[in-house]
């Protein structure tokens, strides 16, 4: 295994272990997601709108908001005892550092999404069935996109005083294209539409991921190195 990858995995493992010990961010994000779903559930009139029309949007808005809560944690852990300096001091390529953080963030946001999904089917009386594999696929694609940008922005925001406010302001415009695509694909999946109708959106998601993960990896050094 190339060194960079090994380092990235070690960093990701460290992050996950640290988070599992304190569990603060994970818990907040999960509770938040559940609450958002409950609010959505009570806010709609079931006699007017069928669940499937709104379902995809509700699901993804919930995911997006919960992701924002979870992303704040990523670089907060590095502020303890100036741990980030310890990382930067070592011969760790900045791309590997970014990748490690990205993988850890994906693990967290992914966990929140996977726990939220059954809650969603419960509240909105949606049956996933055959749509499930496709749904997990689109969840992975979209999440990779906005978490990679979220990782960069949380690295910047954590150095400021208003991190919790700044991160959403910076991140939301970037989340819109993957969110639109994800909602479109999800609603089609839930309605059992054929794959041909989703191709355009899936390609957009894939392209978005490739472009932004690469770009974020490249600019990460500008964010952490002085």
């Amino acid at each position: 295994m190339p060194d960079s990858l090994r380092l990235a995995l070690a960093i990701a493992a460290k992050d996950i272990r640290a988070e599992l010990r304190s569990r603060t961010a994970l818990q907040s994000a999960l509770v938040f997601a559940a609450l958002v779903l409950v609010v959505f559930n009570f806010a709609r009139d079931p006699t007017v709108l069928s669940a499937t029309d709104l379902a995809a949007s509700v699901l993804w808005v919930t995911f997006a908001l919960a992701a924002m809560v979870a992303l704040n944690r990523a670089f907060n852990v590095e502020r303890e005892n100036a741990a980030l300096d310890g990382l930067l001091l070592a011969p760790v390529p900045r791309e590997a550092l970014f990748l490690g953080k990205l993988l850890a963030n994906l693990a967290f946001v992914g966990t929140v999404e996977l726990v939220t999904l059954p809650l969603f089917t419960l509240f909105f009386n949606v049956s996933l069935g055959a749509a499930l594999p496709g749904l997990v696929g689109v969840m992975a694609l979209a999440t990779i996109g906005f978490v990679s940008i979220g990782t960069i922005f949380s690295a910047m925001a954590v150095r400021t005083r208003f991190a919790e406010l700044l991160l959403p302001v910076l991140l939301l415009p970037f989340m819109v294209p993957p969110l639109i695509a994800a909602v479109q694909v999800t609603s089609r999946l839930l309605s059992g539409r054929p794959l041909s109708e989703m191709w355009g959106w899936l390609r957009l998601l894939a392209l978005y991921d490739i472009v932004f993960v690469t770009l974020c990896m490249l600019v990460f050094s500008a964010v952490v190195d002085e």
């Binding site: 005892n81 001091l89 002085e226």
Partner: protein, 189 residues
């Protein structure tokens, strides 16, 4: 200043050379030869000492990181506290762990930034003795401090930085008492 030497900051002009090699970014070999100890420990509060040091060993690409970590903590007198987390340790013990972490990759140059801050007399003595031994074994040390008495006897050279300029750079000769008036004059006290 120390951040520049450690490769944590990039100079706006000029070049930094460590062990004869320029400290350009990404120069893994040079980074492996440098260790930094500041008043921050670089430890993760929620990971055990063993986990912290093992992680540090991994960052430096060392073989058998777990064993190295355990051995390093043992040498630091923390062998019975491998499973404890920094959150619950005293400052003195954390400092010891931080030293172990800074030296785990056996650097040839150790940079110290006010390392005696917050240490009680015992811990400070222990650190001084440790540094003395290592200096004897060929470790290069750059120690930055405002408390000259703490490190005077360890030094072979003394440098004074005033407002970004070198005001003095000479071999350390004689007792601190003789140097002190000159020092105070240089910093404009």
């Amino acid at each position: 200043m120390l951040r520049l030497l450690a490769g944590l900051m990039r100079p706006t002009a000029g070049e930094i050379r460590v062990l004869g090699r320029p400290l350009t970014r990404g120069e893994a070999r040079t980074r492996r030869a440098i260790g930094l100890l500041s008043h921050q420990s670089f430890l993760y509060d929620d990971l055990t000492l063993l986990e912290n040091l093992t992680f540090a060993a991994r960052l430096y690409g060392l073989e058998r990181p777990g064993e190295l970590a355990a051995a390093a903590l043992d040498r630091a007198g923390l062998g019975d506290r491998l499973g404890e987390v920094p959150r619950r340790l005293s400052r003195g013990l954390t400092q010891r762990a931080a030293i172990a972490r800074a030296l785990i990759h056996d650097p040839r140059v150790l940079l110290l930034d006010e390392p005696f801050t917050g240490l009680d007399a015992n811990a400070a003595d222990r650190l001084r003795a440790d540094l003395h031994t290592r200096l004897g074994h060929g470790l290069g040390v750059v120690l930055v401090t405002h408390h000259l008495a703490e490190a005077w006897d360890l030094a072979s050279r003394v440098a004074v930085l005033v407002e970004g300029r070198w005001a003095a750079y000479e071999p350390r000769a004689g007792a601190l008492e003789t140097f002190l008036p000159r020092y105070l004059g240089l910093i404009g006290a």
